[in-house]
Symmetry: C2
Subunit: 219 residues, 2 copies
């Protein structure tokens, strides 16, 4: 999916959005954000389905891990190591895929070949961290709703400006794990925004803040 | 001190700024912020010297506590209980003084008699918390660089929107104490912004954020 503003012929900076776990490239949150990014600030916004999500089939390995996560959820077992393994498996596919997406979208004559932004929460953060670490075109990132366990090594390689969102009462990501991930980023400019509420309750004003952050860093 | 924008005849919302420990109403940080608040966003900004600061003499009790804090600093003793006592002593004076300042400034025909904002870091946060808890005219506050020890009871009475700033490598305020103060606010809208750096290293973009926060809440 590629969103661009109506009736604007200028070349515009690209933002790639990574969707959350169980979601897809046309999930309502992705669409609503992409439309605002395009309409109000003139960004081009791209989103693709992660393997096993949206229009893309699950592999046998995906199904095996997801079944095991369901079992552990029912029996109260520890989810984090499984989730970290699942994210590592997915990142091995999404990092080169997303690099190819940048290649393709940046060939369009109305999309800037310059600095690119990345936006991703939850699984979109877990997969975004290794992607940003590997991809020098990404020059600013809004990340959040994820802990350090699933992407610690890559996080320590990130040096671009990061705006990092934490939900203070997140029922899935322990507060300490979020703060630990923020600590790991090697960026000279990184800013953590924490707000009350559960995993899905990001306040609307954080979208305004993300837009200003990208505008500041992608020009 | 009262700052207002040049050549604007309209009635404008008031923001009271509380200065930090050892500073005063005309400290460079206060002046720079007040000028931007007035010039770029049209706020009226007031600042007064806290007792024992700027043009106001220290009492014998101030001198006794300050001497004891110096001694403990040299001997490595625990500063927090002394500082909490000092702030409580000062707040007993500043809360009614600041209420009188609002009374006086809001009588000016170019200052709005409506909602007022409060901005205070460090000691300005420690004294601001009991002030905001006591003063219903304050409807939005930017606070930070202070921990829970010196104003816990009053913090739990605050229900107005709060933007709370934490310096992640603050050499004076432990991170856990800052997070504990943020936790105490009873506000439905509260947002924590944490940035790398020491006590005095607030990034410039937080001033932009504070201005947007006040604009959103004071209209």
């Amino acid at each position: 999916m590629l969103w661009t503003p109506d009736g604007v012929a200028e070349v515009r900076p690209l933002i790639l959005m990574g969707h959350g776990g169980g979601q897809h490239k046309k999930a309502p949150g992705i669409v609503a954000r992409a439309r605002r990014f395009a309409a109000e600030y003139g960004f081009a916004v791209a989103a693709v389905d992660v393997p096993g999500h949206g229009d893309r089939p699950r592999s046998e390995e995906h199904n095996r891990i997801i079944a095991e996560m369901r079992t552990r959820a029912q029996t109260g077992g520890e989810q984090t190591p499984l989730l970290a393994g699942f994210h590592a498996l997915l990142a091995g596919q999404t990092v080169p895929e997303w690099q190819a997406v940048l290649d393709a979208v940046q060939e369009l004559d109305y999309v800037s070949a310059g600095p690119v932004g990345y936006w991703g929460m939850s699984m979109g953060c877990a997969l975004g961290v290794p992607f940003i670490a590997a991809e020098p075109r990404i020059r600013a990132a809004v990340l959040g709703l994820n802990g350090a366990e699933t992407s610690a090594e890559a996080a320590a390689q990130i040096t671009v400006p990061v705006e990092f969102l934490v939900q203070w009462d997140d029922q899935w990501v322990p507060r300490a794990a979020s703060l630990a991930l923020f600590d790991l980023f090697a960026s000279a400019e990184k800013t953590l925004h924490a707000n009350p509420g559960k995993h899905g309750d990001l306040p609307v004003f954080e979208l305004d803040s993300a837009l200003r952050f990208f505008t500041r860093h992608l020009g």
